[in-house]
């Protein structure tokens, strides 16, 4: 069942006075607060009519955030010779660290996730041959 929380803030001076008040005075304050609570509840729409979360909130999910892999892309450019040793393999790079690599992308991704990488940045290191031209398929 849907629920929601309504908070009524009591000024600190009133809260302190409540602590030292007689039981009769406290009962009157309690009644007044309950009345105020009922009044506020009447001003709220039923839960079923509560506004839906705005679409932009859905885009705050990590899966919908831009990848922002500038650090990894810069590392790849600066370490071409090192990457040569991974030719023919899939590589997962996190920051400046190669966290997993191998010929099977499924295994590489699994190892990366096993090391706590939630969203792996994966790429294939092609075996470059000057006599070979690449086409789509």
């Amino acid at each position: 069942m849907p629920s929601r929380t309504l908070t009524i803030e009591v000024p600190p001076a009133e809260a302190r006075a409540y602590e030292t008040a007689t039981p009769e005075q406290q009962r009157r304050v309690d009644d007044a607060l309950r009345g105020r609570f009922r009044e506020l509840m009447r001003t709220l729409p039923p839960v079923s009519q509560a506004p839906e979360p705005v679409p932009s909130q859905a885009h705050e999910a990590p899966a919908l955030q831009p990848p922002r892999r500038h650090k990894e892309i810069a590392w790849r450019r600066a370490h071409e010779a090192e990457l040569e040793t991974y030719a023919g393999q899939w590589v997962v790079l996190e920051g400046e660290t190669i966290v997993a690599h191998g010929k099977k992308p499924a295994e590489v991704l699994e190892r990366a996730k096993g090391q706590g990488v939630r969203i792996p940045y994966i790429f294939y290191v092609e075996e470059l041959d000057p006599d070979v031209a690449m086409m789509g398929l």
């Binding site: 859905a58 885009h59 999910a61 990590p62 899966a63 919908l64 955030q65 831009p66 990848p67 922002r68 892999r69 892309i73 450019r77 071409e80 990457l83 040569e84 099977k104 992308p105 499924a106 991704l109 996730k113 969203i119 792996p120 940045y121 994966i122 790429f123 294939y124 290191v125 092609e126 470059l128 690449m134 086409m135 789509g136 398929l137």
Partner: protein
Amino acid sequence: MTTVEYQYQIEYAYDRKGQRFPRLDFRMSTSSLTDAVDVEAYLDNGCEYTLSNGWLGASLGLDLLSGRRRRFESASGIFLEAAIHPVHLVHDDLGVFDLEVSFSLTEIRRCLLGRDFFDLAQIGFREHHQCFFVTPEP
């Protein structure tokens, strides 16, 4: 003559040994948004539909074999089969694209952005200058 003004100019990405390719980096996820993977994809308007390695789709939790099938055939007649699934592709600057991606059932090394992607974004190439221009709308 139609004149198109583009919003973004993107340099071809460097590969090793100085080769450069028209490529975009994306975060790929499914509608559940529980898993994502960051991939690089090559612009290929010779490819009718966007094609990805199937294992990347499987890593998103997709039941790969449940997708509608599509056969891709190359100029030489070599073909491969793929299963189609809807995904989100998020780019740093270009935003979010909702696309049905074909996930190859055999191993492939490149993710190709096909004409279905070109249908969502206007792209102009300047091959000699090793850059392309993009406006993220049809």
